[in-house]
Structures are given as C-alpha cells and as structure tokens.
C-alpha cells in the first residue's frame, strides 16, 4: 500500500531532484568560500549568487539574509542576542521586557522563557476566540522597557494567520522601531505564500528550508538591524553565524524556494480545495470540532487561516489513538505539533487558543502540501469517516 503523507507542516515530502541538484552544486563548489585561492573565490561567488537570488524571491536585499541551520537557530540567534547587551550594561535586576504571542513555536517560546531567569519580564498575548491576535492588543503590551517583540506568522498547530504586517505598521507609526526589535517566525509561510520580508517591517524573520522541500538543517535568518553575536569564530555570515558555510544547504534552499514560489498561487488553490473536501467530511463526523472555533467560511479564507493546516478533534477519541489508527491504514497525520508530539500532558499552544485539555487531547493535525493529490484526500476522507465511526462507537458507552 502506498502511504499517504498528510504531515507536511512537520516537514515536506522529499524532492529528490532538488537534493540531487544541490549535491551536484555543492560538489562543484566544494572549496571553502573563505579560502583566498581561485576555487575558494568561485565557491564564495556561488554562495553569494544564491543569497542574491533568495533575497529577490523573499522580497529583500542580499545583505539582509544570513544562512543558518534552520528556524530554531535563527530564532535563538535573535533572542539570545539580548544577553551580551545585557551583560555589557550590567543590568541584571530589570533588563526589560519581551512581548510574544502565547502561540509561539517552542523554538521561540523556550529561549524567551529561558531569559526569565536573567531577569527579563515575559509578556504573552493571547489570541481572540477566532485564534487570531489583535494587532492593537499586541502592540499595547509594548512599552518603553520592551526590547523584543516576537510573533509567529502562521501558527503551526492550527494554521491561524497572525497580523504581522499590521503589527509592523503600528510599530513604525508609534516610533517603536528603533528601540524594540520586531521578530517574526515565518516558517509556515515561506514557500507557501508570497512573502515580501521587507514589507513586513520586521527587524528579523526565521525560515526553515525543509518546510518547502529544501534540505533539513538549512535555513535563513532575515536581519534588518544590527544585533550582538552569540557565537564567536571565523566571522562568517556578518559575524553572527561563524562556521564554514554549508554549500549543499544553501544551494538546496534556493532550488526549493524557486520551485515553491513559482507555484504558490496554484498550490494555494489546490490546498483550499483539499481543505474544503476535508471540512465537508469533518462536518459529517459526530463530535468533531475544528480548532480554533470559527465559521467554516472564515476557516476557508486563506488570508485568515492557512489552507495547508487543519486542526480537528473528535471526542472522545484521543488524538494519539486516531493518529495510530490512521497510520496503520497508511495515512500519516500528526497530533498537535509534531515537534512536541512525543510530549505528554497539557498542550501549551492549544490551551492558549482557548482549547480545553480534553479537546486538545482529542486533537489531530492534518497538513497538506504541494505534492498532495486529490485522490489521496478522497481516500483519507473515506478512512477518517470509517475509522472514527468505529472508534467513537467503541468508546461511547
């Protein structure tokens, strides 16, 4: 049985052509780009041409892109850059506050929470009932002591799209831009939506290549402001990410971004169609509910919710049980966020969306991607109806 992959938000299905081509290029330009000889210079030129092309694809200039190992590293470089500055100023008792959304991915939430022990005050902003944070409420939390404001562009567990452009505009209007570093996590947006980084008015943004069929261990930090480095070494990547550049990762990122961004409109249309089919099926399942709670018409609006992600619960079936049953039928889906799927207990992010523990316990995430076929969705819908009927009947006394 051919397996059907519906966990694209965790990582995209491999595109062998992209990886092969990236490998070929990394073999051709295998020398150290910092070496002074001709082959080293050619490797440098190749990397810089990749940077320039990526900058053009993501609506910015090449001097604003730093190559990293992925969004986790990009987020950490920005967040932890507060520490060297704090040490320089010897401000240990009250270094300032950080404003974040309460629905951040762990790669933002955890490093920010870790700063609490250095005296930082963390201010979390909850979304409205529809899962979307009000830009005004977010900006209201910012005051003269705020040093960093971070928000996720598209939530990875529910697909709720956050008003990052509006927040950027408000920060500019209120003249916060100089004092407050504005960071966005663009992981679930990059390669799926047209993305103009400069237009976000963010100071920094993080991107992971494997979310749009690039290689694992590759990513970008968009950076529009000087920050203190947390690594020391050879001074590569504007002295913010020392270490010999990973030519394979950089080449693969560009190839994947080119492919993804050529077809964003077409892919979005397909994803909306699939989401509609899935929602029709889910509406026929007793006890099924969507996260966050909203009108179906809103849920299908790609400006409010990513069509690539559906968060659904079917009570009283535990999400992990449904994932197992679907998996044994050949379908890969996830419970909540795959990054924390191994963890038990409360779901921090789903709780922040106003979803109680019992509902979060029953939640699965279905995520489609550019390679998803309509037949796969039809097969999945049939299986979902069949298996949830059996499970609900078994568990309902």
């Amino acid at each position: 049985m051919e397996r059907v992959y519906l966990d694209w938000a965790a990582t995209t299905a491999v595109n062998i052509e992209i990886l092969k081509k990236a490998l070929e290029q990394s073999i051709i330009y295998s020398e150290n780009p910092s070496s002074p000889h001709d082959d080293g210079k050619k490797a440098r030129a190749f990397i810089e041409s990749c940077r320039e092309s990526l900058a053009s694809l993501f609506g910015t200039t090449k001097d604003r892109l730093i190559f990293t190992s992925g969004a986790t590293e990009s987020n950490n470089i920005v967040i932890n850059s507060l520490i060297p500055k704090q040490l320089q100023k010897h401000s240990f008792s009250n270094p300032g506050n950080i404003v974040i959304s309460a629905i951040e991915h762990a790669s933002v939430y955890e490093p920010v929470k870790a700063l609490e022990k250095y005296g930082w005050e963390i201010r979390e902003v909850l979304p409205e009932a529809n899962g979307i944070i009000s830009a005004e409420s977010f900006v209201e939390k910012i005051d003269k002591n705020t040093r960093l404001a971070a928000i996720i562009m598209i939530n990875n567990e529910t697909g709720a799209i956050q008003p990052v452009y509006e927040i950027g505009r408000l920060l500019s209007e209120k003249n916060f831009r100089k004092r407050v570093h504005y960071h966005i996590d663009a992981v679930q947006a990059a390669g799926k939506y047209p993305l103009n980084l400069d237009n976000t008015k963010a100071d920094s943004a993080s991107i992971s290549s494997h979310k749009f069929q690039g290689p694992r261990g590759a990513g970008i930090l968009y950076l529009n402001k000087e920050i203190s480095p947390i690594y020391s070494g050879g001074g590569q990547e504007r002295n913010l990410r020392s270490g010999t550049e990973n030519t394979f990762a950089i080449a693969g990122t560009l190839l994947a971004a080119e492919k993804a961004l050529q077809n964003t409109d077409e892919n979005l249309k397909k994803a909306i169609k699939y989401k509609k089919l899935l929602l029709e099926t889910i509406n026929n399942i007793p006890n099924a509910f969507l996260n966050p709670l909203c009108k179906t018409s809103d849920y299908l609006n790609p400006e409010k919710y990513s069509p690539y992600i559906i968060s659904v619960g079917i009570k009283p079936v535990p999400g992990e049980v449904l994932v197992r049953v679907l998996s044994s039928n050949g379908f890969d889906v996830s419970t909540g966020s795959a990054c924390s799927a191994g963890k038990k207990g409360k779901s921090r992010v789903l709780n922040a969306f106003g979803i109680d523990n019992e509902s979060a316990f029953s939640t699965i995430r279905i995520s489609t991607g550019c390679g998803t076929e309509v037949e796969e969705i039809s097969q999945f819908c049939d299986t979902l109806i069949r298996e949830t009927t059996i499970l609900v009947n078994s568990l309902s006394k």
Binding site: E320, R324, K397
Partner: protein
Amino acid sequence: MDKLYLIKIGEIALKGGNRSFFEKRLKKNIKLDLRGTNCIVSGGRGRFFVEVNKEHSAQVEEVLSRTFGIKGFSVVKRLEKNIDKIIEEALIQASENIKETGGKNFKITARRADKSFPLNSYGICCALGDAILDNIEESVVDVNTPDWTINVEIRETAYVYSHVLPGPGGLPVGTAGKGMLLLSGGIDSPVACWLMSKRGLKIDSIYFHTYPYTSDEAKQKVIDLATILSRYTSGMNLYIVPFTDVQLKIKEKGFEKATTLLMRHAMVKIADRVAKQNDAGSLITGEALSQVASQTPESIRFTGSATDLPTFRPLIGMDKEEIIAIAEKIGTFKTSILPYEDCCSLFAPEHPLTHPNFEQITKEFIELELDELLNTAALETEKLYLGGE
C-alpha cells in the same frame, strides 16, 4: 585459557540430598550465560571454576555477578600442593595488595578440603603469615580490620586468591519450576521478576496490549524490559496478548467504578490459561499492598480468584522507595519511567472501587460473558523469545 575464576555458592550449600540438583542447574545456567566465550566451566560440591581467556574476563565477571546461586567469586591462582610454591605466590599477591591498598595490615585464611595435605588450616596460615612478616617490612597481622586478605584453599590442587567479588546469592534459576509474570511497563513488575528469579523460579512474562489505545512504543518498552530481565532469568518467553476487545467490552458493559478490577481479573484469567499451556506453575505480580485501588486486600482477593495457581507477590510489603532502589540496581528503572503510557485515562474510572464486595463483583464479572473474548485473546497471543547474553 589464562584466567581462572573460583565460584562460591551460598544457600545451595545448605541443601541436603538434592544439593547436586541445584549445583547441576547452576553449572548449566553459568554455561548458558557464558556461551560464546569458549570458557570451560567445571567443579561441583561447593566450588565451581570458570577458565577463560583474558579478553572475556569483563563479560565473565558481569555474568557471575548477576547469576543467582553464586555467593561470590574470585580470580585465583592454581598451584601444585606444595607449601613453598604457595608461599611464593602469597608473597607476590601481598606486594600487589600493598600497591593497591597502600596498607600493610593483613590476614590469611586457609581451608584444607584435602585432609592428606601435611599442614592443617592453622599451620598454613602460620607458614604464610611468617613468610610475609619476614619478607615485607612493617607488615602486621590484623585479623579484625585487615587492609587485605590472602585466601588459600587446598583441594585436588591448591588455590591462592586475594579478592572476593560478590554474587547476588539466592538459588539457581530453574530450580523452583516456572512462573508467569504479569509484566506491565511500570517499575514494579520487573522488580517482582528479579526477586522471584532469585528464589530459583524460571520466569516467562505476559503483557496485555491494547492497540491502538496503547502505542507500539509502549509495547517495545515492555519488550526492552523483558530483554533486561532475560539476563537474570537465563532467557525469557514474552507472551503478548491482544487485549483490546476484552477492554472495550468491559468498558461497554461493566460497572464504571469496577472497570479496573474487572480488567485485572480478566488479565489474570488469561495469564492463568497461558501459564498452564506453557508449564508454568505459578503467577507473579508486582502488587504492593494498598499502593493503588486494585491492590487493597478486597481487590486482591477478587483479582487473585481468577486463578488457582499460587500467585507470588514479592513486593507486597515494600515501600515505593525500596522498589525503586532495586529497579535501579537491576537496570530496569530508566526503561520503566519512559513516558509511553497507554491511554489508560480512557478506561480508568475517576473514582475506582477500593473495597469491592467479593460476591457482587464476581457475579458482575460472570455477567459480562467474556469467555469467548478471553479464549480468542489467549489463542491470538504472540510469543517472543528473548535470549540472555
């Protein structure tokens, strides 16, 4: 073979007419666990020997330190029964012991099993003691708190050794028949297994799998635990029972507060059947009195009534801390606490019965009419063999 171990037995020595049965079993277990090392296992009547090449000595010591029936073991030097040769070896070991301990207070012990040897035990001690006092400056005899001890045994040949490493004691696995352990993924049941193995039980395990409500990771955790335990039990069969249909029927028809007890009763019934089919004459559980609702005297009376086999509950009077200390010692604790719980909250009542009325709950179990489902579960049980070393 360049290394020789002398093995001392513990409780077996107290056995009367059937002592050779215990000794033969111990020898067989040692051979089984040391297969692959090309060692030679010999001896009997109180002392065993393992001869092995040096490269396998770490493995031999690891096996001997966990083989039930062994009280202690030593690396020994084998010599001809000549007092001069014995003294010569004693002086070599004395120098090594001084290097190791930095102390010069010593003690000599001697055991003369061969009564034809001209010196008796006391005479051997005196001869060696004098030689050490004469040859090593500042050496002092100290029989109460010695820095080191040299031991001599005169048997078919002479043995001289300084260090005695501890074995686990107990009786050889297999000398008390076979038992069936109800193995969960928790901390307690592996400890119960180790304790009953120590009393000579050969143990197989039974695990109840409720897929998809229990994950494959939870099943693998139980397999991993059984693999660790198989090192102590000289191999182990693990029976994996598909229990989902039984569990769902109990959830559907059973009195909610009693579901855990009804489920455990059903498990014991299946364990009883699988045990009898596989020549196991007892059941073993990790129950500790009043640890949870199903472990009160009334609950144990009901769950235990599902079998007529003796049920051993070696943890019954132990605190959790005591159980954890053993789990850490035998190497099961880290696996037991891996977070692959089943979705037991689906099946566990919020307020479980702690003091069931025996007649009433027995009647309720009968009314569930589970016989066919229990038969199917027993028939569809999967068997895995997990070998020792």
